[in-house]
């Protein structure tokens, strides 16, 4: 049903339609509205046969989900930012044990300095943890990805993280088609675990594995993710047939035909980028966008095919691997590496800690890529003046004090004169 509804609330409704049996909730901004919504749906009787457990930490939230999943229940939890870090040990454990838990990540920056706003640092921190990571471009896709996530997770016996931009999507109220229960029931079969704790057939789960088999265990985990590449595509196609709209998949192309410049990005910023591309196309610039939906597994081959033929590839990402550059750009580089006449790769980091990514800035960035390419990682809309002054101060003075506070003081006294 079409509704004007907050993203978080729509996601809560969609998750409830998937009939989770155990939901573990621990609050962290900006994920709160999702678990609050689910709590309400359980309390008011909309979602039956579901245990909603308020736990004492994110570590416990995922641990409870691990126990529930191992015991054969469909388990769900949600978190963001510091919460994901706090549960990190269990994040690896859930995938290592092959438990099909679905978790929403309301993407948010990681401190210090503490920051509640959106970027993708949290998801990136767990990119190698063995979870499938799907990024929603819109709230509609966020709704749809959750339904696909349960099916994917349970088919592969592998956990799935649905990454949704904090605030930008979670707190936006817009037109969303929330499916009906019979639709979801018809598409998503009940959870049929490949391993389960059952007194009738006792098994041990979580034994220690030494050098004699650890490589093989990891190989199979990697193999399963490569299987996921095919399944993600298949399920997106099935989903489109059943629900009548395109959602999910590995990646999506927008106006890529004959494009000289191709932008690669993930999440909600793709919407803004599409508007910019339309405007630039109107000016006669051959530019297009490739939206990465599945960051893990990373669709290297599919991306390579799509980027081949472009002159310039601009990666815009909301995270920075300090000391290296953009993690998405690194992965895109992998896809470009073996191409003959590979396009030039330009890496830009944008929207950190919730800094708005505006159309004018993107216009400038995309133009610059072909006209005046930069070396290394470009920080979009960086306040170079204030950074320069801080660097100068730290060189001059040993006890220069806390960086974040120094910058804030400068901004307060000198203004944001970029």
């Amino acid at each position: 049903m079409l509704k004007q509804i907050e993203g978080s609330k729509a996601m809560a409704e969609a998750i409830a339609l998937c009939r989770p049996e155990v939901i573990c909730a621990y609050p962290i901004t900006p994920q709160t509205h999702i678990v609050e919504g689910l709590g309400e749906l359980v309390k008011d009787g909309h979602l039956t046969d579901c245990e909603y457990i308020n736990v004492e930490s994110e570590f416990a939230a995922l641990s409870v989900a691990i126990g529930a999943s191992a015991a054969g229940a469909r388990a769900y939890t949600a978190t963001a930012s510091q919460g994901l870090l706090y549960m990190a040990e269990a994040v690896y454990n859930a995938s290592g044990l092959g438990l099909p838990i679905v978790m929403t990540l309301g993407n948010r920056a990681i401190g210090a300095p503490i920051n509640i706003w959106n970027d993708h640092s949290d998801a990136m921190s767990m990119r190698d943890a063995g979870w499938i990571q799907l990024f929603a471009e819109t709230n509609q896709e966020a709704v749809d990805l959750h339904i696909q996530a349960f099916k994917l997770a349970e088919e592969l016996s592998m956990p799935v993280m649905v990454c949704v931009d904090g605030f930008i999507l979670t707190h936006a109220m817009e037109r969303i088609d929330v499916p009906e229960q019979p639709q979801v029931d018809a598409w998503l079969p009940p959870y049929d675990p490949v391993q389960v704790l059952d007194p009738a057939e006792p098994i041990s789960i979580g034994a220690m594995v030494g050098p004699e088999a650890f490589t093989e265990v990891r190989f199979l985990q990697h193999y399963k993710q490569t299987q996921a590449l095919r399944l993600i595509t298949d399920y997106a196609r099935d989903f489109e047939k059943a629900f009548g709209r395109e959602s999910g998949g590995l990646l999506r192309a927008y106006r890529v035909d004959d494009a000289d410049v191709l932008v690669v990005a993930m999440g909600s910023v793709c919407g803004t980028i599409k508007d910019v591309i339309d405007e630039m196309r109107d000016e006669g610039i051959a530019i297009g966008l490739v939206t990465i939906v599945s960051y893990r597994p990373f669709p290297t081959d599919e991306l390579r095919k799509m980027l081949a033929g472009a002159q310039d590839v601009v990666v815009v990402e909301k995270s920075i691997a300090v000391g290296v550059g953009g993690p998405l750009a690194n992965n895109v580089d992998m896809a470009l590496r073996n191409l003959p006449d590979a396009p030039r790769l330009h890496s830009a980091v944008a929207g950190l800690g919730g800094r708005p990514i505006t159309k004018p800035s993107l216009h400038r960035l995309f133009r610059q890529a072909s006209v005046q390419p930069w070396e290394g990682t470009h920080f979009l809309d960086l306040n170079e003046r204030i950074v320069g002054r801080e660097i100068h101060t730290t060189r001059k003075k040993r006890r220069s004090g806390p960086t974040a506070e120094n910058l804030l003081r400068r901004l307060a006294t000198e203004g944001d004169a970029r």
């Binding site: 004492e56 930490s57 409870v64 126990g67 529930a68 015991a71 229940a73 041990s204 034994a207």
Partner: protein, 345 residues
Amino acid sequence: MSEARETLAPGEAVQRLKFYQKGTFTVGNRLVGEDERSVQASQDRSNALTCGHRACQGCGEALGARYAIDAAMRATGKDMIAVNATGCLEVFTTPYPETSWQLPWVHSLFGNAAAVATGVAAAMRVKNKRTRVVAQGGDGGTTDIGFQCLSGMFERNDDVLYICYDNEGYMNTGVQRSSATPPAARTATTPAVGDEPGNVFGTGKSVPKIAVAHNIPYVATATVADLHDLERKVTKAMSVHGARYIQINVPCPLGWGAASHDTIHLARLAVECGLYPIFEAEHGRITHVRKIRKQVPVTDYLKRQRRFAHLFKGDRPDPRVARLQAMCDANIADYGLVAGADEEV
């Protein structure tokens, strides 16, 4: 009971016989009625933790776990799932690709056994199954790194029995100090050197007391020196629902620097000197205390363990022995551990 019987010195056997004639059942089942015999004495016992595991000789934890889990299996009609924290018990029972567990068993992490058990219990509830859940871990996984999850499980009154096998240190990683390590004890991280050798005299951390403060339905301490009492407590714990906690004192020959054949003897001395009070509590109130038959000086307990050897090195008595004795005396006074003349023990 086989371990107990094997460790009997001929001279002590007479004394033991006297004990169980008084009804303490510490020696065996021969002289008691069928229905009073231990779970382990039954041919129908589950053997939930079978032989072939890799525990050290004289491991108190292996003994305690077998008795506890078999008792829980009997109490639940074998309809039970076990959750294990990382630690010795987990490592020595499941050397890949083998397992000693004859019941559904899951190990996730060091600090989350209580939370994983909550999840299993929730799954059973939502699926309308009567399957019960027992979580187990060592003192490190319980009183230290797993403490937050444990408290959360207690506070929500989740239907989980958590058993802590307390061997007073991180034995799996090579005997480091935990919050359950007694003062003055030597460990790898509290070496017996310098002016204050061994572990510090902190304020201590009684997780059983903390469990009682959560007002959960059932809390008990137990010892491998009284396995029949241990079985009774596990059975009782499984007869009620909600959060339950049993902490079992399980000597570790390696970590304590004691003879393998001394495990039961040390466990008994720990109780009899007053250092390890054995009690039960229900809904926040202590309901039963195991009385000390004859209080022994703490030195009797300390001197049999190399982890305390530095206390007895010099010519003069180490003042810290007196402090340990004071701790015992305080426990005896606080819990009323010594029976009055008219009380049966």
